[in-house]
């Protein structure tokens, strides 16, 4: 199968599921839906949900019960971007080529839109899970994995380290700790939930987690590289912000060439982990290669 076709198909499935699950009302609280919708449908890559669906199809042909979880990941990812962009956080005016949420709707509405999306992620997972025949214990476990990955031992923990503990980042293992929490945790949980709901065994789940750990770090390094080498037009946000903010990144700590080497190494390790699944992981392997050379 052609990878680009596969990818476009997965993104389409996710976009449709998001539209189906983003239940909005035209009532008095219309503004909260406008603000949530603005960022949720701002043209994200849907990477986390594509990974979830891609992993899931190694194990299963029925992705329907996975979709609410894929939607939840996109809602959680989007809320984290809205809150990260706030003036008291990274103070970013643009995101994906559009005004950031607080620039468009004001700070209070942006905070509430973020809260609303985080909350909606759990609304969708719990409500939709009730509609499926899938073992309810497995669905609860999936909610639990996602909740843990986005919380204080996961993404939120990473964000607080990034905001307040920059001085504690002294070597690559410190940076890895930060990124495994801030960006890696929800990439890993996306993969894990895809595997779990597909019926993966314990060993298979561990293999998938190893794949996702490596892919998540490689993804982050590419982000750091794009901030140096990328195009503001393609990225939809200014480049060079890491350097001007004195941020510690893989590029600033390793230099551009070493960062690229590490990124390739991690991508290869992600691909190697998938080896046990033979041709069933073909598209995921293509995804790893695609992310290595992405320009946005």
């Amino acid at each position: 199968m052609d990878f680009k076709l596969w990818l476009n198909n997965k993104v389409e499935i996710v976009e449709k599921a998001l539209k189906d699950n983003f239940v909005r009302n035209e009532n008095r609280q219309k503004l909260i839906y406008d603000a949530m919708e603005y960022s949720l449908f701002a043209g994200g890559k849907r990477l986390r949900s594509v990974i979830m669906l891609g992993v899931n199809e190694i194990f299963s042909n029925d992705y329907k019960s996975v979709l609410p979880f894929a939607c939840a990941m996109e809602m959680i990812h989007t809320y984290s971007l809205i809150h990260d962009d706030l003036p008291s956080m990274d103070n970013d005016d643009y995101r994906r080529g559009k005004l950031s949420n607080h620039k468009k709707f004001g700070e209070a509405a942006a905070i509430l839109a973020g809260d609303g999306l985080l909350n909606m992620a759990f609304e969708v997972m719990s409500r939709e899970s009730l509609k499926f025949d899938t073992d309810k214990e497995l669905l609860l476990k999936a909610i639990s994995i996602i909740a843990e990955s986005s919380g204080s031992e996961g993404m939120i923990g990473g964000q607080i380290v990034d905001m307040f503990c920059e001085e504690s980042i002294n070597d690559i293992s410190d940076l890895e700790y930060l990124q495994k929490h801030k960006t890696g945790a929800i990439i890993k949980s996306s993969a894990a939930v895809g595997a779990l709901l597909g019926g993966a065994s314990e060993t298979e789940l561990k293999t998938i987690e190893k794949f996702a750990d490596n892919l998540g770090l490689a993804f982050q390094i590419q982000d750091d590289i794009l901030d140096v080498e990328g195009s503001a037009e393609k990225l939809g946000k200014p480049v060079g912000s890491d350097e001007s903010n004195n941020k510690k990144t893989y590029v600033s700590m390793l230099g551009l060439e070493e960062a690229k080497k590490l990124q390739k190494k991690l991508t290869n390790e992600a691909i190697e982990a998938l080896g046990i699944f033979d041709e069933k992981s073909e598209m995921l392997i293509e995804l790893c290669k695609y992310l290595l050379v992405r320009e946005k």
Copy 2:
């Protein structure tokens, strides 16, 4: 049984469960736990979880599986207060006689602490639910009820109406719409989950929801009354803020005497709804009376 003893016992059970379920680490992200803990253990009334436990014991003698949900309600309530107090929202410097979270930890940490508590509510519910023998479908349903009540059709929706649609509040039914979302929704879901997990029938659940609807509004009216008649010392926050902020309240729209009459009427309706449960609802009835005369 003596009501005050009963109430203290319930609050103690909740405090202990919160300490057990607030799993913190002394790792790099220590700050997020400090900020979350600061507000979660700031001496709240634990009203929502007391209502949940009080309703539950009408139907069941085993409250253990309800505790994670009681903790979740306190986490959700606390996060909403942290975010409400932010400069871009109500800009309040004090809460429960202490500095508000952003005054103590700064705005970025306060936003993340709120996010962390909302997220932790779902972590606790999903993780702990996996440990109980209770029907997993019922537990998923309970998570779903809570998620809906705290989201854009519940508490967050109420907050956005309060912040941005003040001009649409023209009569008591408008104000009721606002309060049923902003404060009523999670009081109602607390009662509903207590009933559901206790094994209540559909009819019993509806009765409990009617009770909680009336109690929630009566509770809000008492809040409005205390902002006029209360003591700043007892409340732990300044009084008169509604008037100085030109807020539409039951007192400003009805006058003090009529507001008090309505509050009594709603309290009586809450108590009457409990009638079908006979002596089993004795303590909940005492709780209604207690909330009618509370000073903080």
